[in-house]
Subunit: 186 residues, 4 copies
């Protein structure tokens, strides 16, 4: 079986984003059955239905990238107790035009991160509410609220303690099972 | 007493947005004690902390517009069961730099709109969760989930039935009381 | 293959509850692969960890009923923009004692009902947030916000129009697929 | 000015509940302008509209207690990422019969507690969503997600470190201002 193509969306646009570190850590830890690739979202113009005919090339490219993936992992910080706008915009761009959502049926996993204690719980569950509408089977456990993230992963994506490493490995292991169960037949 | 300056944020960027119609309807119905002005949000680059020094001019202008207002009204559709990205981005841009949020202490009202029956409930309450963090006293009632909005207000902001007009007038009337109670002393 | 045992929880305790009507409608429409049984929740004392040793017999019976089921369907009204207490209590009772949750891994579907337009959206998504913690794979689509429910199903569980009947049948059909994918091996 | 009567609702029914410790700590720290009294909720039968005529005496007593208060403070743990059922039931009982809610217009503050890191964020914001419908002006800041609560307050309600004590005092101080602004004229 070839490795599954996993689109990884990182909610923060900062060059040194902690969520990017976590995404890189997952890439380092991925099993041979998964092929994680980060899909950029910062270049996408705000979704506006008026601009659909024809759509801006970055929208088209992004939609194609998502369609070509087997499943999705979201790694995101929390801004003001909700998702960053760039991540929400990626959801909106990928969901259109009406009836042609790129997201439909893609199984997914959700990780929220924060240097603080709460671990991005607010962003995490706002994202999950959108995933219901987008019809993306969302893995429930292990819940990934990664608090104190600045001390857990370094800039190269090395996980700095064994407990966090074990959690990330458990997440990836369960994710493999989840996506095999819930991917739609092509 | 001079009229209070109310910044109105419209969540949709569409030229013919229903939320824009509702914002215009509120302007037509506003009492002499309120001066509603729509503040544009579509021109704001995505928030990215890396870009703060110096901040892009549209961020600076927007923050100044919010600071100069006495209170805020949000009128927004729902995209994928949450806020549109453009509105979330406006919240994020206005909230920074850290410790200098333009939103702090501004009383506010929230209106969600939809052509469908649910009236944007999901976007409405996600927005409210952010307003807690932003320390904006949020009026609770009347709850404004404006479903079937396409049939309620025309393109010029005329309200098409008496019941909706009465609801909008009640909202504005209660809003006057709310902001007088909860505006901070200058 | 024998029919799957589906525990149906009804959020309202009213004898004439609309959610009970919907549950009865689902029973009438169920395919031969499903066996829906309503599990009572109104008799459960409030969860209190102090009362666990020994637990009240209604808690024990309820936990056993859930454990014996293959999957769960929740049908609930909204009270004050969230779940009814009786339903939340059933979740809490079934989740304990710690480490022995009766819910773990049971696939589930969620239906919210209301005589009003919004269809119980608030209760629906609060319930979904709990299901993440409870590790219950939750079907995403079709989203079931059943507004105007008083006009859709009669007291005997007859569905009063073809569109609603088709929606319920679609829900049950998708649910069959969902639970077969996501039930854990015994 | 006489002290304001503050009804304090504790979400947990455990005798040794951490939320009860926090409520007792607030009582110890209350300024002379506030008179905090814990209102019991564990004795309330589940809300069921069928039982309203006549209502059970505990419902009547509870409604009267809330009506006699000037404002409300909620202190609650999180059960399964939402409110405990006993607290939700108190909200529901107090909100009825229709049109005679005991809660209407009472200003309020919200504190969530947890021995874990996340501090009951999920319960906290579910509660806030109900408070919108109940028309209870809800103080936004300081946000009170009290994580690691088992190490912060002892069984007699003594706060065990200065930072937590200062936070509780700040909460009470802001609460005094909040309720004076937002109490309705009698």
């Amino acid at each position: 079986m070839p490795a599954r193509n996993i689109a990884v969306l990182v909610g923060s646009l900062r060059r040194e984003a902690f969520s990017l570190r976590v995404a890189n850590a997952l890439k380092r830890l991925q099993p041979p059955t998964l092929n994680l690739e980060i899909v950029e979202i910062g270049q996408l113009p705000f979704y506006n239905q008026d601009d659909e005919e024809p759509p801006p090339p970055p929208w088209v490219d992004f939609r194609n990238r998502i369609r070509a993936s087997d499943a999705v992992i979201f790694v995101t910080p929390e801004y003001n107790r909700s998702m960053p706008a760039a991540l929400k915009n990626a959801l909106d761009v990928g969901s259109r035009p009406y009836g042609k959502s790129a997201w439909e049926g893609k199984p997914c996993g959700i990780i929220s991160t924060s240097p603080g204690a709460i671990g991005g719980f607010g962003a995490h569950h706002h994202l999950r509410q959108s995933l219901v509408f987008l019809d993306m089977p969302a893995m429930q456990q292990p819940e990934m609220y990664i608090g104190g993230v600045d001390k857990l992963v370094d800039a190269e994506g090395n996980v700095l303690n064994d407990r966090t490493k074990a959690l990330f490995e458990k997440f990836l292991d369960k994710f493999c099972t989840w996506i095999e169960r819930n991917m739609r037949a092509a």
